[in-house]
């Protein structure tokens, strides 16, 4: 197998004395879709946020597309590595975080122009292409407060894609949405998966995980307790915590 896009080795994270991540090892291969499930508070989001250093890891190493960044680094050199890692990852947040003072198009153009120094014409072209990919080109001149939550999230996905990252990180992208708006966002994500986008998705949407994931990883109390294909995990879980988690989802669905 070729080198992974994301490799997490021995990742630990402490908040004060609380050990939130207890030594995590994880690989995500190119073009792979990995769904991360687990109860709230199990450390899924923290792990995702450690990958692009929104949370500074306490121990271990993050490797993205061959770029190795050990935990606990300090100084200019470390900052530079972190910056490069962020350019290789695209992040989609639970609550969208679109920039309210910019139009939809400007939201998507902003980082290519400001961070990469791309000229505006080229950035506009890329922005429009990515807006079209998520079906939001028709709203490009609107401002974020004029569109629905589902539409906001689709724009946020386009904004991340416009930086042409090696891997997309999704942090519960549908958890803040009204139920009737979840579908459109999941559709966009399915489309990305089909195009071969490498994705690491923290989610509670079991239907999505079953349909799209190549691999599901179950997290519990800061550890990865089980992983496998959707069939293995969802239909024949080995761990009793996984079974309990799935039962919880099923009863919530009823």
């Amino acid at each position: 197998m070729s080198a992974p896009i994301v490799r997490v080795t021995g990742l630990k994270k402490y908040f004060g004395r609380l050990e939130v991540l207890k030594g995590i090892n994880l690989d995500v291969q190119s073009r792979e879709v990995v769904c991360l499930i687990g109860r709230s508070g199990s450390g899924k989001s923290t792990m995702l946020r450690c990958i692009n250093f929104l949370e500074e890891p306490s121990e271990g190493e993050i490797e993205i597309h061959g770029l190795k960044i050990p935990a606990g680094g300090k100084g200019k050199e470390h900052q530079k590595l972190v910056h490069e890692a962020r350019l290789l990852t695209g992040m989609v947040f639970q609550d969208f975080n679109l920039f309210p003072h910019m139009s939809i198009l400007e939201n998507v153009m902003e980082a290519p122009v400001i961070v990469k120094g791309m000229d505006r014409a080229k950035a506009k072209e890329i922005a429009e292409m990515n807006l079209a990919r998520v079906g939001m080109l028709f709203k490009k001149d609107e401002y974020p407060n004029r569109i629905s939550g589902g539409q906001k999230q689709r724009v946020a996905i386009a904004r991340a894609l416009a930086m042409q990252p090696m891997v997309m990180l999704f942090d519960e992208p549908t958890s803040a949405l009204d139920p009737e708006l979840i579908g459109e966002v999941l559709e966009v994500m399915k489309g990305l998966a089909k195009e071969g986008t490498t994705m690491l998705v923290v989610t509670h949407e079991m239907g999505f995980a079953r349909e799209v994931a190549d691999r599901i990883i179950v997290m519990n109390e800061g550890q990865l307790i089980e992983e496998g294909t959707p069939k293995e995990i969802l239909d024949h879980p080995k761990q009793k915590q996984t079974q309990a988690l799935l039962d919880r989802y099923r009863s919530a669905d009823k």
């Binding site: 692009n52 929104l54 910056h83 962020r86 695209g90 947040f93 975080n97 679109l98 400001i114 004029r146």
Partner: protein, 281 residues
């Protein structure tokens, strides 16, 4: 709005449309009543100061003096606005720096910011104007001839900057953590995040209170007259008032100009606010 326009099949007004019209009529009536009351209050003020001409006035004013000196005092409006404008520009720059200092984790910068704000808020503006007037020529010897206006601008700018830094700080803090994280995740540096994402949103938040500060400043600029070297409204009023022993007339005229200026600035301010409100909040 379409719903209000839709006529019913028989041409009569729909229930919704009737309600809408009723509300509009009520609002117009309210505005008309307010306007009438304003005119009445202005009339009282006029009668109070009308002097001999109506035979009712409580306060006797020398109308000839007013006519003679009207242009002389009016010429101060320009300087008053000029001082206020320079001062507010200085205040905005200082307020921004002080707000950033206040949010900084670098101790000397934080200390400088809190020290400046504390000092400027802890002493009277009137005193500060004199202080700069007296101190500047000693600090910068070749400036001995200049200071009147600049002492005033420095004092006003630094004083208002200290107060406005709180507004800016609130504006910067009002921009959520999610906005910063989104910017950082996209690869922006702290500086880029501040310039492109946080400050534009903070400024939008700070513009209405800044308008208030500017309006307040046009009147506080009257204190600059105290140094005796800036020929703005207040200086001109006191000067002609004193030489002709018509202090009350002169001050009323200055008050008139200040009020008119404030009315105009308030109108401009509400227009700007209306435009901001339409935006994207």
């Amino acid at each position: 709005m379409e719903i209000f326009r839709k006529k019913q099949a028989d041409g009569s007004l729909s229930h919704v449309e009737l309600l809408y019209q009723l509300q509009q009529r009520k609002q117009m009536q309210f505005r008309a009543n307010v306007a009438i009351s304003w005119i009445f209050l202005l009339l009282i003020l006029y009668v109070l100061f009308s002097g001999d001409s109506l035979g009712l006035g409580a306060i006797q004013l020398d109308t000839d003096f007013i006519k003679e000196n009207f242009t002389f005092i009016a010429q101060g409006v320009g300087d008053t606005l000029y001082i206020s404008f320079l001062s507010i520009v200085l205040a905005i720059i200082l307020a921004l720096l002080a707000a950033l200092g206040r949010l900084s984790t670098f101790p000397p910068f934080y200390a400088l910011s809190t020290f400046y704000v504390s000092l400027m808020r802890g002493t009277p503006l009137y005193l500060q104007i004199f202080f700069f007037f007296l101190a500047l020529p000693q600090i910068i010897p070749w400036w001995a001839q200049v200071p009147g206006l600049w002492a005033g601008v420095l004092a006003l700018g630094m004083n208002y900057g200290a107060y406005m830094s709180e507004t800016f700080r609130a504006g910067i803090s009002s921009v959520g953590k999610g906005q910063r994280e989104a910017a950082i995740a996209l690869g922006m540096t702290n500086g880029q995040m501040m310039r492109r994402i946080v400050l534009p949103q903070a400024l939008r938040f700070a513009i209405p209170p800044m308008g208030n500060d500017f309006i307040a400043m046009t009147k506080d600029s009257a204190m600059v007259a105290a140094t005796g070297f800036v020929h703005e409204l207040m200086w001109r009023a006191t000067r002609v008032g004193r030489t002709n022993l018509r202090n009350l007339e002169a001050l009323i005229m200055a008050a008139f100009f200040y009020w008119i200026m404030t009315l105009i600035l308030t109108a401009i301010q509400s227009r700007i606010e209306a435009r901001l409100g339409k935006g994207d909040r």
